[in-house]
Symmetry: C2
Subunit: 82 residues, 2 copies
Amino acid sequence: MASFTAQIRVTLKRGVLDPQGKAIEGALGSLGFEGVHQVRQGKTFDISLDASSKAKAEEELNAMCEKLLANTVIEDYAVTIE
Amino acid sequence: MASFTAQIRVTLKRGVLDPQGKAIEGALGSLGFEGVHQVRQGKTFDISLDASSKAKAEEELNAMCEKLLANTVIEDYAVTIE
């Protein structure tokens, strides 16, 4: 068993409305940041886990995203293992 | 003016309690993912902006984090410009 540290990024799919991102965009505008076109908010998860191999760890992490961490109807996810 | 796309990652500082991460850790355990030690949740922002140079864009993005996107008492941020 080896230890791995992974980073998962969950973001809204292109085309899905992001009202929170829009609100942040507006707030940045009122704070004087005028060059901002678009803001999209997402989530990250830093996960430490044990697995027999890097491939096995990646498989587990993808399964975690499918089952719990991402709503794959509206969200994409990306797994990076360090 | 050039257009830049940046990714900002806001994470809790080491030592700050993360009850949401703990809850996810517990949920992953009950779903049968047994190798998980630790989960920490953070936020990401994908920002498109105009700036006169990459250095200027980075400066603006750091200012956005300090003023709005991160609570620097308990959170760290990292800016990556693509």
